[in-house]
Every structure is written in structure tokens, then in C-alpha cells.
Amino acid sequence: MYDIVNGLINTTFGWNWPGWVIALISHLLVTTLLFAIAPFQMLFLTYYERRAIARMQDRIGPNRVGPAGLLQPIADGVKMFTKEDIVPAAADRWVHFLAPCVVVAPTMLMFAVLPWGPGMVPVDLNVGLLFFFAISSISAVGLLMAGLASSNKFALLGAMRAVAQMVSYEIPAVLSLLAVVMLTGTLSIVQLIEAQAGLFISSADVPGVPDLGLGWFIFTPVGLLAFIVFFIAALAEGERTPFDIPEADSEIVAGYMTEYSGMKFGLFYLAQYVLNFLLCAIAAVIFFGGWQGPGVGWLYDRAISPANPDGNWVFNLLAGFLGVFYLLAKTYAFFFVMVWLRGAFPRLRVDQLMDFGWKFLIPLTLVNIVSAAIWVALLRWGPEQGITFTQNWTPILRWGVAFAVTLAVNIVAYIALARIFAASQAEQGRIDLDEYRDTLTATLR
């Protein structure tokens, strides 16, 4: 955005404003734009989810308000605004009021490091990935506030479940990203995307690969396993079915949202959908190349960028449109998978959820880290790092060997860990059954 504003004001109009004014203008513009987009994104996602889930359940879904029901979310919004705000007499009014704000604010702050297109990142932090996940975990505090302040046992149960689930699944999510960070050696989200140029093989790994913007991490065994773990963990972080235990309607009413109504409830809803959008977007960015795709790199080479200050800003716009299109297409594809899972799977039990996270996903990510180390050692390391036998290999041979070895390690690890996990679950099932039989016989006597 800085480049476009700079190009418009200084190059096209020739006003020669100082750099910090342009930076301020472009930052304020970006902030306004993002905060205007986010609610509409959320409104569209709720509409989309209701329509898609209706199709899967052989219904039609909302189709009365506006063309094909498109204005339904607006009507819902109006209802939220005009609903009475009921605060229970026993509740802690201030904490009850602050909880939705504490949940929404960090979720919005996560937009600050999400790149939308080439050269279109609100702020390119060198610790962007860490910032994203550090901020995302703050909303757990808001959920606990909501549960404690409501002074309702359903709310407290829901909040405890939500926090336990969020902290448990944060570890596999962050550890799976660690493997990708090892492949690139950077935490900047922009550089992570730039490392995914190429055609099935990243241009950074094998020089000379044609750049079609398709060198995504998902095409490496390490990235594939990391993506699977990350997507499952993202489902749990965003409280999506089959991990929607914190708001399991049939058990604990609406979890931590039980005592909320009107706009405060609306804010929880907003935070949840914006978080889902962001998690889908970050999955697309880190494993599917974000704005990378055929044509974007070619257009951006002709645009104004730090590397090419004489470019034409029209190419900035074209590359930006194409990049945003690719990113949103990938993001909505992931959101569709989330809706699909909701239509296909029943809810897990709490113990199943915790066991799956701690006993399967975390060991799997630990193996994946070793796998990433092997990948880097075979592909990048030379004599100065203590690896001599790969010295005379060609880049493509090194890539092939690294691919085969990491694929073998990951498949063996997956099968072995799945067997261990299944055996431990089966053992638990037997113990439960024995106890049940004993109690039953005791009662009958």
C-alpha cells in the first residue's frame, strides 16, 4: 500500500511529500479498509455457512431476505442491535461487559500481519508468525472472563472447556509451523510466501525451477504433515465441529455465551467467524502460498516495489487483484472444508479431544521437526555445517533424496503413532467397560 500511495502522490502527481506522511496516510488507509472489510467478511461467512450446511442437510437455508437470502446477515445484524441486553443480577457487570471486547480486539489485531497480495501487507513484522499466534491466544482470557463473570455454571463449564481446548491445541499448531520455519529460516510471513515461488519444487530449494508461484510447502512431505496437524488444530482453536465442545448445545446450553444477548452475543459471534477466516487465511498463506499463483510474480516484477522503484503502479493494482483473488479463493476453499466437516462429523467427547491433541498430534509434530531437520540438512547444508557426502550431488538429486527420506520418516511415524494411540484408546475403553460391569453387578446384588 505504501508503494501505491507513494506512486500516486509523489510519482504521478509530483507533490514530493515526505516519507513519513505517506507512511501515515497509507497506514491509516489500510487500517480503515481492513476494519471495514472484516465485518462484511463475517456477515458473508455466516450466510455462506448457513446456505452450505442447509444444502448438505437437504434443506434450502435462508432465501427470503433479499436476492437468494443475501441480505439475511444484515437483517440478523439489525436484530442484534435492537435486542435488549440482559445482564443477570448475579453477574459481575464490568467483566461481563469487557469479555466480548477482550475476545474481539486481539482477533482484529491479527489482521495487522496478514499479507493480502504482493506488496500488500499491513505491516511486515520480522516476527510476524510469532505475533499472529501470540495475539490469537489472548482471546482465551476473554473467554474465561465471560465464563466467570456470567455467574452461571453452564458458562463456567463452557469457558473452562474452551480454555483447555485452546491451550492444548495451540501447541500442535505452533509446533507444526515450527517445521515450516525451519525450512525457510524466517518468521516474516511475507518472506514465507516469497519462499513458495516455483513449480511443485520451491525455487529456493532447486535453482532454475520455473516460477509459476506453485512451489507451495504442501508439496513437501514435511509441509503436508504440518498442514494436516495445523488444520486439525485450527479447527479446535476456532471451535469448529467436531471440536465445538465449549458450546455443545446439547450438554451446556451455549457454553460461555449462555448469559449473553444482543450485541455482546453478536461480538462473540463476530470474533468466532473472523477467527475462522483468519485461521483459514493463515493456513492458505503458510502452506498454499497465500497470494502466490500463476501470473502474480510476472505482474509484480513490472510493478513498483523496493526492488524495482521505476515500475508502473497499474501493475501493482493488477498483481494485487490477482493475488487477493488467489488468497481469497484458497481461504474460502478451506472454509468450505470447515463447513463440510460440520455437516459430516458428530461432536467429539472432551476426553477424546484432549487425548487426540496430547497423545497423537504433539508426538507427530515432534517427529515432523526431526523430519524438517533432515530436509534442511540434505538440501542446504555443506561441509561448513558438517555434511560432506552431499557435496557432489546435483540440486535436483539432493531434493529427490530429501523428499524420499522425509516422506519415509513421516509415513512410518504416522503409522506407528496412530497404532500407539489406537492401542491406548482401546485399553481405556476396556477399563471403562470393566468398571461399568462391576457397578452394574453391585447394583443388581
Binding site: 476494519f35 448475579a90 474481539v104 491451550v167 518468521l187 496430547w358
Partner: protein, 118 residues
């Protein structure tokens, strides 16, 4: 670099104001007719019994403890991962020892039953 964080500050102010705006707007739009029944704690048709602050299932705290250990591990591992390209075998061995100790801890926790939901 400092300018980046100045922008984060702008973003932070906007992010904090963002949820307050609809709440303030809703404050002027919505009806306010509280009654004792409406303001009672939600329960399935009964009156809520007992205090909220009761002893809670200890399992949640065990998970929280395990989380703290692993989160610190992640914080240690991230700088290592960023520098991994240049570290060489020595750096890899050092981190491998660290990982093995943590994995041993995880296995110990598992065998000890700290990860069981009872």
C-alpha cells in the same frame, strides 16, 4: 523497524475501539426493560443452586501445567528454527537433546496418567 511497531500501535487502538462502537450504538437503539425474572441466572427452568466458585476438576490445571512447559519449549525452539540453516550438526544435536528430554517428559506424563481424563 520502529515504524512497524508504530503501525501496530495504530492498529491496536483501532482494534480496541472496534468492539466498543457497536456496543455504544446498540446502547441507544435497544429497549431497556429489566425484570427480576429476566435477570435471574439461566437454568433449565429451575432456580440456580449454590455458589459458582466451587472446587473445579483438577484435570484442567494439569493440562495447563503441561501447556506451560510445552509453550516455553516452543519459545526456545523458534529462535533455533530461524537460525537452523546456519547452525550445522552441533546445533542440531543440542536441540535434539533438548527435544529428547521433553519427549521423555511427555512419555512420563502419559505413563503416569496425568493426561487421562478421569
Amino acid at each position: 523497524m520502529l515504524a512497524n511497531y508504530a503501525f501496530i500501535a495504530i492498529f491496536f487502538v483501532a482494534a480496541v475501539t472496534f468492539p466498543l462502537a457497536p456496543l455504544v450504538l446498540a446502547f441507544f437503539l435497544r429497549p431497556k426493560r429489566p425484570t427480576p425474572i429476566k435477570q435471574s441466572t439461566y437454568e433449565c427452568g429451575l432456580e440456580a443452586i449454590g455458589d459458582l466458585r466451587v472446587q473445579f476438576k483438577v484435570q484442567y490445571y494439569l493440562y495447563a501445567l503441561a501447556f506451560v512447559i510445552f509453550d516455553i519449549e516452543v519459545v526456545f525452539l523458534y529462535p533455533w528454527a530461524v537460525a537452523f540453516n546456519q547452525l550445522g550438526l552441533y546445533g542440531f544435536t543440542a536441540a535434539a537433546v533438548f527435544l529428547i528430554i521433553l519427549t521423555a517428559g511427555l512419555i512420563y506424563e502419559w505413563r503416569k496418567g496425568a493426561l487421562e481424563w478421569v
